[in-house]
């Protein structure tokens, strides 16, 4: 039996098309993936992402534990802030990518990928001293993502918060109409936005209030096209235990200078030895390449890589994707073939994000 979020009935009443994702029955789209995608790019949308993990890690030694588990330097993160972080295994392979919030000097909220929540809880518990407690509150708490250029206005009107006071990855406790919310300035769409944790009743109140304010309900379909258009990674696709953060071009998340952490030695060795494959974006000249397609060198038809995520960009109106290629072919603009089933389609390697950053785009729209 698939797990359902507390908002399932409300979503079903809105004729959501559901899909199975990581053991959950989740809304894929309500009206159309493209319409929902564009609503987030141009106005504001709301996603139910309650399937994401909510692990609370607390107690004496919690900071030392997090320093050991994640590659970045958590001590540099102020209380009330968060950071995008990766967990590595001893070989430097990625175990999860997620945002970790620092709620207190020795208190953290980690938001793992849905399919990785139990693993990360067990992994963390296996390294934790007895003074640290790790609580998985995923089943009892909802998580909403409010995303889009107009999300500040909605935050002001519905949650009575001052958006200007929120820096990137800020986390705050907010009470509205007697309901408690944890509001975090973060997201996975490339647009300005917030993620909001609440108990089911508070989440339902917020859901209704947001929809009543004209916010577009969006499903996981648009979430995937939005993240892909920004070149953001998806665990299980671009990141796996067989991929290191150096190969995924996430070296900025690895604080070699902070002292020991799980995977440090392996990553240092890889840095010394050299990295033989790298994450790359590509844009198709025609058609769409999906996950698993092969990337070929256009000169010799040699296999030089593979596609980890492939889809359609509603903004570019073209096929785009992410994949890994041999390091010697890492060259933006390089013409490639993609073997899609029995056909060879043309494309070229491209820098991420695939579209203008929101700031640039909004400036351009105002100018035009």
């Amino acid at each position: 039996m698939l797990k359902r979020t507390p908002l399932y009935d409300a979503e079903q009443a809105m004729n959501a098309h559901f899909t199975e994702f990581a053991g959950w029955k989740m809304p894929l789209y309500y009206s159309s993936i493209i319409k929902e995608h564009m609503a987030v790019r141009t106005s504001v949308g709301i996603f139910d992402i309650s399937h994401l993990g909510k692990l609370f890690i607390k107690g004496q030694g919690a900071t030392a534990l997090m320093q050991c588990l994640i590659a970045s330097d958590i001590e540099k993160v102020a209380v009330g802030c968060g950071t995008y972080a990766i967990y590595c295994n001893e070989n430097g392979g990625v175990l999860d990518d997620e945002i970790v919030y620092r709620l207190g000097p020795d208190e953290y909220l980690a938001v793992p990928n849905a399919a990785r929540t139990e693993f990360i809880k067990t992994w963390a518990a296996g390294h934790a001293p007895e003074t640290v407690t790790i609580t998985n509150r995923t089943p009892e708490l909802c998580l909403l993502a409010l995303q889009g250029p107009e999300s500040d206005t909605i935050l002001k009107n519905v949650f009575h918060e001052n958006p200007a006071s929120y820096k990137r990855y800020a986390v705050r406790h907010v009470v509205v109409n007697g309901y408690e919310y944890t509001v975090m300035k973060s997201g996975y769409t490339g647009e300005n936005g917030y993620e909001i944790i609440a108990a089911p009743k508070g989440a339902r109140y917020a859901w209704d209030a947001l929809l009543g304010s004209g916010v577009t309900p969006c499903g996981l379909g648009a979430r995937d096209t939005l993240r892909l258009e920004m070149g953001y990674m998806l665990y299980g696709h671009e990141l796996t235990p067989a991929i290191t953060p150096l190969e995924a071009r996430l070296e900025r998340l690895v604080a070699f200078d902070k002292g020991d952490f799980i995977g440090r030695e392996a990553l240092l060795e890889q840095k010394r030895e050299g990295i033989d494959k790298r994450l790359i974006g590509f844009v198709m000249d025609e058609g769409i390449a999906r996950d698993g397609s092969t990337i070929l060198d256009k000169v010799n038809f040699d296999e030089i890589g593979w596609v980890t995520s492939g889809g359609y960009s509603p903004v570019l109106q073209a096929g785009i994707g992410l994949g890994y290629i041999k390091s010697e072919f890492y060259q933006i603009g390089l013409a490639i073939y993609l073997r899609v089933r029995d056909k060879l389609l043309q494309g070229h390697l491209a820098e991420r994000p695939f579209i203008y950053t929101p700031k640039t785009r909004i400036t351009q729209e105002k100018a035009s």
Binding site: Y29, S32, G221, R290, Y312
Partner: protein
């Protein structure tokens, strides 16, 4: 909802048989299942096809689907306007969103396809 004057194939294509010509498209059920359609790869006119062959591909934002020919014959025309505006298939799958035409090699072949009522029962069972 499901036009009575058409015949239906198990892979969710419809056929309008007129004299020795068959016009083929995908059903409303198929377009709804696919979601936003963004590319169509149609067969070349002149190509010989047999019933059940994969004649092309339809790409939606979320997936790729094969396009089958429910009947045998020669491709005589493709709907070029859907290549430029594939969303027409979502908007009008039984009308402006038709995909290709075949000159029958065996006009009685269409008789073996599902009626509207049979197709309705078929999709209920999926």
């Amino acid at each position: 909802m499901i036009p009575e004057d058409l015949k239906y194939y198990k892979e969710h294509e419809w056929v309008r048989a007129e004299d020795n010509t068959a016009t083929i498209g995908i059903t409303d059920y198929a377009q709804d299942s696919l979601g936003d359609i963004v590319y169509v790869d149609l067969p070349e006119p002149g190509k010989q096809v047999s019933a059940g062959d994969v004649a092309g591909e339809i790409e939606s934002v979320k997936s790729t689907a094969e396009l089958h020919t429910p009947v045998s014959g020669t491709i005589i025309e493709v709907n070029k306007s859907v290549a430029d505006a594939p969303e027409v298939i979502n908007d009008d799958s039984y009308g402006k969103g038709w995909l290709f035409k075949i000159r029958f090699s065996n006009p009685s072949e269409a008789d073996g396809l599902m009626s509207a009522q049979e197709y309705e029962e078929y999709i209920k069972g999926l």
